[in-house]
C-alpha cells in the first residue's frame, strides 16, 4: 500500500463522520415556530406544577386524596370544581397538583405531535417521545406514592420532576430559532471561508464546566429531595450527614457558579445567550443560597451560636404558616430552575462549541484534502 493510499483511508472515515453529523435543518432550512411554542408552553406549565408539588410536600398534603388515578371516586377531571377550589387547603393542593400534572402530560403529547408534524429532524421526534415517557413515568410515580404511601417513591418523584423540567427547558433550545440560526450561520461562515470560532482551552473549559455544574446542581437537588422526604423513622446520623453534604455542596455550587460566570464573562466573543444564561445562574444560585439559609431558619430556627442577639433568640418558628411553606417551596422551585438553567446552558454550549468543533474539523478536512490534492498533483504530474 502506497503512502497516499494509507493517508486516504482515515480521511474518508472522518469525512463520513462529519457529513453524518450535519444537522438536518441545514439541509432543509424551513423552520416552524410551533414546536418551540408548544415546548415553551410545556415549560410554563411544569414550573407551577413543581411549585404545587413543593407546596404539597411542605404542607404534608400528599395523602389528601387517598385514591389514584381517580379523586374520591370521581374521574379526576370531573371532580366538582367548587368542592375542589373552595375546599380544604391540602385537598386544593393535591388535586390541583394532579390537574396541572395531567395538563403537562397532555401538552407533552401535543409536543410530540407538533414535532412530528412541523420538524423534520427525526432525533427531535425521538427526544419529544422521551420527554413524554418521562412525564408519564413521573405521573406513575406520583400515583404510586399515594397508593403505597412510600417515602422512597416520594423521593424519586421529587427528583424526576425537576429532571423533566430541565429536560423540557433544554429541549426548547433545540426547537428554537436560535438553534437553527446557529447552524445557518456556521454554514455561511464555512462557505464564505471565514475562520470558525476558535475553540481554545478556555472555550473547552466552559463547555466541560457546564456538564460538571449541571451534574453537581442536580446532585444537590437530589440531596435536597432526600432531606425533604426524610422518614419519621430515619436515623439522626443519616439526616445530619445529609445536612452537612447539602451545605458543603451548596458552598461549592455557589462559589463554582460565580467562578464559571466570571470565566464566561471574560471569554472574548462568546455567544450572548451563553453569557446571559451564566449571568442568570449567578443570580439564581445566590438567591438559592439565601433561600437555603431562610429555609433552615423557618424550619429549625437560627443556629444556637447566634442566640446572644435578642432578635434571633426570640424567634419562634411559624409552623405551617404561609411564610414557612412558601419560603421552603421557593427553595425547591429555584433549585429546579437552577438545574434547568444549567441544562439550557449546556445545550447551548453543545450547539455553539459543537458547531465550532465541526467547523474546525471541516477546515482540517479541507486542508488535508488540499494537501492530498497537492501530493496527488506531485505524484501524478
Amino acid at each position: 500500500m502506497s503512502v497516499i493510499e494509507r493517508t486516504q483511508q482515515p480521511v474518508k472515515r472522518k469525512e463520513r463522520a462529519v457529513l453524518a453529523e450535519q444537522p438536518a435543518e441545514e439541509a432543509v432550512p424551513g423552520y416552524s415556530p410551533w414546536p418551540w411554542r408548544v415546548g415553551a408552553l410545556l415549560v410554563t406549565v411544569v414550573f407551577p406544577l413543581i411549585w404545587f408539588g413543593g407546596l404539597v410536600t411542605s404542607s404534608d398534603a400528599g395523602m389528601a386524596v387517598p385514591d389514584w388515578p381517580g379523586t374520591y371516586g370521581y374521574n379526576m377531571f370531573l371532580y366538582p370544581f367548587s368542592s375542589w377550589f373552595f375546599g380544604p387547603w391540602d385537598f386544593f393542593l393535591e388535586h390541583g397538583h394532579r390537574l396541572i400534572g395531567s395538563t403537562a402530560g397532555l401538552v407533552a403529547i401535543g409536543l410530540v405531535a407538533t414535532c412530528i408534524r412541523c420538524d423534520q429532524r427525526r432525533w427531535v421526534w425521538w427526544l419529544s417521545g422521551g420527554l413524554l415517557l418521562l412525564v408519564i413515568f413521573q405521573g406513575l410515580l406520583g400515583g404510586l406514592r399515594v397508593v403505597i404511601d412510600a417515602r422512597t417513591i416520594a423521593k424519586l418523584h421529587g427528583c424526576v420532576g425537576p429532571a423533566f423540567f430541565a429536560s423540557a427547558a433544554a429541549f426548547c433550545v433545540v426547537l428554537s430559532r436560535w438553534w437553527r440560526d446557529q447552524g445557518i450561520q456556521a454554514s455561511r461562515s464555512a462557505s464564505a471561508g471565514r475562520a470558525p470560532l476558535a475553540l481554545g482551552p478556555a472555550e473547552r473549559q466552559v463547555w466541560r464546566g457546564a456538564h460538571l455544574w449541571l451534574a453537581l446542581s442536580f446532585t444537590q437537588l437530589v440531596i435536597g429531595a432526600f432531606l425533604r422526604h426524610v422518614g419519621v423513622d430515619g436515623s439522626p446520623q443519616g439526616f445530619q450527614h445529609l445536612v452537612y453534604t447539602h451545605v458543603a455542596l451548596a458552598c461549592i455550587v455557589l462559589g463554582g457558579t460565580h467562578l464559571y460566570a466570571g470565566r464566561v464573562r471574560r471569554l472574548p466573543g462568546v455567544e450572548p445567550r451563553i453569557r446571559s444564561a451564566a449571568r442568570w445562574l449567578s443570580a439564581l444560585v445566590t438567591l438559592q443560597f439565601l433561600l437555603g439559609l431562610s429555609t433552615w431558619i423557618v424550619k429549625y430556627n437560627w443556629p444556637s451560636w447566634l442566640d446572644s442577639w435578642t432578635w434571633t433568640a426570640q424567634f419562634v418558628i411559624p409552623e405551617k404558616t404561609m411564610w414557612q411553606t412558601n419560603i421552603v417551596t421557593l427553595h425547591v422551585a429555584i433549585g429546579s430552575a437552577i438545574v434547568a438553567c444549567w441544562a439550557v446552558l449546556t445545550v447551548r454550549c453543545w450547539r455553539v462549541f459543537g458547531l465550532a468543533e465541526k467547523a474546525a474539523a471541516g477546515a482540517e478536512l479541507s486542508a488535508e484534502r488540499a494537501e492530498r490534492w497537492q501530493i496527488g498533483q506531485g505524484t501524478t504530474g
Binding site: 404511601d149 419519621v232 445530619q240 446572644s308 405551617k320 404558616t321
Partner: protein
C-alpha cells in the same frame, strides 16, 4: 411518516408498560414501629450486671409484647383501661383523640386530618417520643424525650407532670430560640389530640423504663408468661390485671371465680406489672395534676405601681441574685449565662451518670451512643441580658421558673425564698436586660443591652 409514528407509539407503550410493571412490584411500605428503649436496657445492664453479662434477649420480647398488648402500635394505639369507664387512664387520655393523632398522615375532603403526630412532631421527637427523630442531631437543644416524664415549662412543681394547659401552651406558642415551632394554625381539636398523644407516649415510655428497671430483680425468671399473655386477648389480659386489682381493693376477702392455675399466675403477674407499676406509680401521678399547680401570689403593690420595676426591688433582687438565691453560680456575675457551663440535663445525666462513664472519654459511653443515646451536650444557662424567656415572659411565668425551677435542668427550685423574695428576683431579672454593666450599679439603658454589646464581642 405513519411508520415512524407507529414505531414511536408502540415503543412508548412498551416502555410505559415496563415502567408500570417495575413499579407495580413495589409493595406497600410497612408502618414504622415503636423503638425499644435500648439506652435504658444498656444502663440497667451496666448498673446491675457484671461487665461481660447481658440480660437474656427473651426479656426484650416479653417487654415488647406487654407494651404492645397494653398500648398498641403507632398505627393502632390502645389503652389498657382495666377499670372500664372509670379507668383513670381513659380519663387522662381520650382514645378517639389518640386515633386522630396516630397513624400515617392523611386528610379527607372535609379537611379532617389524621396522623397528626407524624405530620407535626415525629421528625424531631421520634416515632416513640424518644427525642431522637431524624432531625434531632441537627437541633439545639435536642428535642424533648418524653419517656422520662419530665417537662421544662409548666405550672406544676418539680417531679409533677405538666397540666394539659401547659402542653397546649407550648404547642400553641412554641419555644423561642429553639426548634419547637408555634402551631398557631392548628384547630383546637388537633392540638388537644396532640396533647393526648404526647401524654400517651410519655406514660408508655415511663412504663417501659419501669419494666426494664425490674429486670435485674427477676434473676432469670420471666417478666411475664408470654404464652399465657398471647393466648388471651388484650381484654382478657387487662381483665386479669383488673381481677387482681379488685381483689386487692377488697382486701382479698371477696369471692372470685376459680381460674385455671396458669391464668391465675398470669393475673398475679399482671396485677403487679400493670396494676402497680403502671397505674399506681405512673397513671396516679398524672391524675391529680391540676391540684398541684403552683399558685402565684399577687405581687407586692409597690412592685406593680410602675411600668419598670422600682429601683429598691431591683436592688433587693440583685442582692438575692448574688447571695441567697445563688443565681450567679450558673448565670454568671454578668448574667450572660457564663457561670457554670459544664452541667448536663437530666435526659443526658440519666445515662451519663452510670458508673464507669466519663463524659471526657467517648470510649466509656460509646455503647450508649450505639444504643441510640444522643452525644452529651452541656446545658447553657440562660443569658439574662436579653429579654427572652423560653417559658414565657409574663411576671407570673418568671415567678414560676424561679420558685419551681426548670424540670430536667440544673435550674433548681427555690424553697428557701419567700414569695416576696421571689418577686424581688423577678424584678431584677426583668431589669437585667436594661442594666449597664459599667457606669454605676443602677445605671439603666432605655433598650435591651443584649449579650453581644455587653460583652463587647
Amino acid at each position: 411518516m405513519a411508520e415512524i409514528l407507529r414505531a414511536l407509539v408502540s415503543k412508548s407503550v412498551a416502555a410505559v408498560g415496563l415502567m408500570a410493571f417495575l413499579l407495580a412490584g413495589c409493595e406497600k411500605v410497612p408502618s414504622p414501629e415503636f423503638r425499644a428503649n435500648r439506652v435504658e436496657w444498656v444502663k440497667q445492664e451496666r448498673l446491675n450486671l457484671e461487665a461481660d453479662q447481658q440480660f437474656a434477649p427473651e426479656y426484650r420480647e416479653q417487654v415488647d409484647t406487654l407494651l404492645t398488648t397494653l398500648f398498641g402500635t403507632p398505627d393502632e394505639p390502645r389503652l389498657p383501661a382495666i377499670y372500664g369507664d372509670e379507668d383513670p387512664l381513659n380519663q387522662l387520655v381520650s382514645l378517639d383523640r389518640l386515633r386522630l393523632a396516630a397513624g400515617p398522615v392523611s386528610s379527607d375532603e372535609k379537611g379532617k386530618h389524621w396522623g397528626l403526630y407524624r405530620e407535626h412532631c415525629a421528625h424531631c421527637h421520634g416515632i416513640t417520643g424518644d427525642g431522637a427523630g431524624p432531625t434531632a442531631l441537627a437541633l439545639y437543644p435536642y428535642p424533648r424525650d418524653f419517656r422520662l416524664g419530665k417537662y421544662k415549662f409548666k405550672s406544676t412543681p418539680l417531679r409533677r407532670p405538666p397540666t394539659d394547659a401547659d402542653l397546649v401552651r407550648v404547642i400553641r406558642r412554641g419555644i423561642p430560640g429553639s426548634a419547637m415551632p408555634a402551631f398557631t394554625t392548628l384547630p383546637e381539636e388537633e392540638v388537644l389530640a396532640l396533647v393526648d398523644y404526647v401524654k400517651y407516649l410519655t406514660i408508655r415510655g415511663e412504663y417501659e423504663r419501669r419494666l426494664l428497671a425490674e429486670l435485674p430483680g427477676l434473676e432469670g425468671e420471666p417478666l411475664v408468661d408470654l404464652k399465657a399473655l398471647r393466648a388471651g386477648s388484650t381484654k382478657q389480659a387487662t381483665a386479669g390485671a383488673n381481677a387482681g386489682a379488685n381483689q386487692k381493693e377488697a382486701g382479698g376477702g371477696s369471692e372470685q371465680p376459680e381460674l385455671p392455675a396458669e391464668q391465675e399466675a398470669l393475673n398475679a403477674q399482671l396485677q403487679t406489672l400493670v396494676g402497680e407499676y403502671l397505674y399506681e406509680e405512673i397513671v396516679d401521678r398524672w391524675s391529680d395534676r391540676d391540684e398541684s399547680i403552683t399558685e402565684v401570689p399577687a405581687p407586692p403593690a409597690d412592685l406593680m405601681s410602675t411600668a419598670a420595676p422600682p429601683q429598691e426591688w431591683v436592688a433587693k433582687g440583685r442582692d438575692l441574685f448574688f447571695g441567697k438565691a445563688n443565681c450567679v453560680q450558673c448565670h454568671g456575675a454578668t448574667g450572660l449565662g457564663d457561670g457554670q457551663t459544664q452541667n448536663y440535663d437530666d435526659w443526658t445525666n440519666d445515662w451519663l451518670k452510670t458508673p464507669g462513664v466519663d463524659v471526657l472519654s467517648k470510649q466509656t459511653y460509646q455503647h450508649f451512643l450505639e444504643a441510640g443515646a444522643l452525644p452529651p451536650r452541656p446545658v447553657r444557662p440562660r443569658n439574662l441580658r436579653i429579654p427572652v424567656y423560653r417559658g414565657g415572659k409574663a411576671p407570673a411565668d418568671i415567678y414560676r421558673r424561679i420558685a419551681n425551677g426548670i424540670e430536667g435542668t440544673p435550674m433548681p427550685s427555690s424553697p428557701s425564698l419567700t414569695p416576696e423574695e421571689v418577686w424581688a428576683v423577678v424584678a431584677y431579672v426583668q431589669a437585667m436586660p436594661y442594666e449597664r454593666l459599667s457606669g454605676g450599679d443602677a445605671a439603666m439603658s432605655a433598650r435591651p443591652v443584649g449579650g453581644r454589646e455587653v460583652s463587647g464581642k
